[in-house]
Symmetry: C2
Subunit: 214 residues, 2 copies
């Protein structure tokens, strides 16, 4: 008799950046999508800045190219209506520095509070239009989630977390990520909030094919 | 008694380029979408090359950036499956010169054969992997549509059509088009095959609001 094959819940790797407006849309939608499809989320915060630099870009293409920026304004306004999110405003600072919340998200990637934390940071950036790299703005979010802000903010600044965020960003680059959000299902790569459904469909399908379910 | 207000069928302006792979997806889908939603299509062929040049780009971003090119391969393969199109191949020449078919499409933009002509040119490029700027490859397409190839090919090379294609491309640029396909519903601009449904939904909704139907 052979031992039972361990089942592994199908999963989508979710690569996102707190300064990215299309990542905002996906962060707000992904937990509900995961529940509906019985697929797990592997939370993969990273920094887009070093990726853009490696590709020879100085900043977001939405800032560098005025046509793209003007379009993204229209598109985001409509997308927010479509997904039932608050009316879209262009943040007064864009893209915002997102190092500190990315470190906290890395620290909490496997914790039950990760989804709610990410949503709150995104709302801070894209609805409340406030800085997200500021401990004074993040502490109340952590406290509201029942977490000890001081301890988490300290742990997030530990050298090991700083190094892991650099490594995770380098992994994104080496796996061909060039924008956010990006989803992986195994080696299949999906770019953009528009591919959220496709990524979860593929993961759920693969889960059914191997008999693994949520 | 006032005269009845003339009704105008709601419409989507469809800006496309025969060398563009995402335009291919929309050209194959748009006529069925228009029928389903009771919305007219205003066919707007243009050339992406001059637009890219005006934006400081030498070629398609899918060629210029290898990460994007690698991604688009995966994405197109999946999109073709999703839309029931033939298996995706990357054309041996990309992006293909598309001046001649664009001129013919401009000539026939209001003709009943426009949708079928555009589909056949796209299949020539993206399925049969053949040159689309070649009269010898376009003549059989025109003939199969019951049209006189020699006359149409001659008319398409008339100076007035050449000038109109330049003007149409310039109009695209001046209205903020920076990629293809692009859809307009009035002043609302939608970029990419992923926004086809949204553009037609908006046009249909505006049609209902003003009491205009197909």
């Amino acid at each position: 008799m052979s031992a039972p094959i361990p089942t592994r819940r199908p999963a989508v790797e979710f690569w996102f950046e707190f300064g990215s407006n299309y990542s905002y849309l996906s962060v707000m939608r992904i937990e509900a999508m995961a529940h509906r499809s019985g697929v797990a989320i592997v939370w993969r915060p990273f920094l887009l800045g070093p990726i853009f630099q490696a590709l020879g870009m100085k900043t977001s293409p939405f800032v560098a190219q005025k046509e793209k920026g003007a379009y993204v304004q229209q598109d985001m306004a409509r997308q927010c209506v479509k997904y039932g999110l608050p009316p879209w405003i262009w943040p007064t600072t864009f893209p915002r520095v997102s190092v500190l919340p990315a470190r906290i998200a890395l620290l909490g990637a496997d914790q039950p509070w990760i989804a709610a934390f990410c949503r709150e940071v995104m709302l801070l950036n894209f609805v409340r239009d406030e800085e997200i790299d500021d401990p004074a703005n993040l502490a109340p979010i952590l406290a509201a989630l029942g977490l000890p802000p001081d301890r988490i903010l300290a742990e997030a600044q530990d050298d090991s977390i700083k190094r892991r965020l650099r490594e995770q960003t380098e992994e994104a680059r080496s796996r061909g990520v060039f924008g956010a959000p990006t989803f992986f299902v195994g080696s299949e790569i999906f770019l953009g909030n528009d591919r959220l459904e496709d990524a979860f469909s593929l993961a759920a399908e693969q889960g059914r094919a191997t008999g693994n379910r949520a």
